[in-house]
Assembly symmetry: C2
Homo-oligomer: 248 residues x 2
């Protein structure tokens, strides 16, 4: 019989999911930050991961549209500001910063933003995230954002590893991640408090834990797809192929 957890036990249970399911454990992450990737593998990752960047503000707007409390909406809208930036790009947002990375690895920007060459599995995982925050309870939707508790760890490894190992990567190209190092913990702290406070029944706690499991799965399977196609060499009909869509 599952028992009601204290807020501290709830936090521990959420962190435990990260320990065993977050993609810091994924072989492609290890490969990427340790310098084992070819340029084309980094391109495949940057190109596909753009789809995830792309849906983040759509996901956040979908989630905000379900908040009937202005205080919650004010809190959440900062995430959209962070990703979309200002219209004149000053300051630029996370989406624009991600394009510094795809530019940096030589991909044609129009091709990247068209998402035409992205893997279907990656598109479907991203769409599943938007559907999740639309269709589940607000508590589950907020809980699904809690992978941000774990991202600072992966980001520091990634930035230092990629700067060290790849000649085509420099600080400017990686600037997306610098900003996420301050944004993610702020967002995660707020969402964690929300979940600990509002998950007041066993069912709500279990649903929140499952929401985080869902989210780790949607991140994990994106790396699986990239690894299968671009590291293990199983071409996907219609998706980007190495050598394709390079900037002139």
């Amino acid at each position: 019989m599952t028992e009601l957890l204290t807020p501290d036990q709830m936090e521990a249970a959420l962190r435990q999911i990260g320990e065993v399911r977050y993609h810091h454990l994924h072989p492609f992450h290890q490969r990427l930050h340790s310098g084992g990737c070819t340029l084309d593998e980094v391109r495949a990752w940057a190109l596909n991961r753009y789809c995830y960047q792309w849906i983040i503000p759509l996901k956040d707007a979908t989630l905000m549209a379900r908040m009937d409390d202005v205080v919650l909406r004010r809190e959440w809208r900062q995430r959209i500001v962070d990703h979309d930036g200002e219209i004149d790009d000053a300051p630029e947002g996370g989406l624009r910063r991600w394009l510094a990375l795809t530019d940096g690895v030589g991909l044609d920007r129009d091709y990247v933003t068209s998402m035409k060459g992205a893997l279907p599995a990656v598109r479907f995982a991203c769409d599943a995230y938007v559907a999740f925050v639309r269709d589940r309870t607000l508590l589950e939707a907020i809980a699904s954002s809690l992978t941000e508790m774990f991202s600072p760890m992966i980001i520091s490894q990634r930035v230092s590893g990629m700067l060290k190992h790849y000649e085509f990567i420099d600080q400017d190209v990686m600037r997306y991640f610098g900003h996420r190092l301050t944004q993610a913990p702020r967002d995660a702290d707020w969402a964690l408090e929300y979940v600990k406070t509002h998950a007041t029944t066993v069912e709500m706690q279990q649903a929140s834990l499952n929401a985080l499991r869902f989210k780790t799965g949607m991140l994990w399977c994106q790396l699986d797809a990239i690894e299968h196609v671009y590291v293990n060499g199983n071409p996907c009909p219609g998706a980007w192929a190495p050598g394709q869509a390079l900037a002139a």
Copy 2:
């Protein structure tokens, strides 16, 4: 400049997509029907593919809910009858027949139908199909069903290959496919005529072709995920593992 195709050219263009993108080309299909799979690989396939079987009638109901023509709805509802069968299982439907296969390979039926052990990538692909028929035009929704034009080919290979190569497979276990050999062509003929007749502009024709590309991608990436995890040995946290959930 893309030109308007004649109905015959449209059919040829649709068939061409099957030639290059349908999963008869996928290495896992080859492996499955040629006897190269272990029992656990066949289990992984049957377990995950249940998710696809599961969403087919949901997809068809979603599509029917958008048809404001009773003639169309009457045509389409046969698909739901085929998959869901009758309440007393006489005749049984495709979903029930699929369970003959998962039973036959020794999987616990409650575990299979819970879909708890399915790969996230497979779940997301299936959900994407339901979302597609809900959100796109009715023409695109119908066009996305046209992979049924190609399925008789794959099914005959699969049935004969699997009967020949696997001792744990017999005719009764494979009975799902026998029925599909008559159901799929009937459905495909109708949908093909619909698309050829109703795609009357370049835009509608291109959208229909893209709908079929989408569908081949959602089928392909399911096999990619299964191959990556269960053939190439990259365990997915939380998903079914070989040896797990076998019938008592």
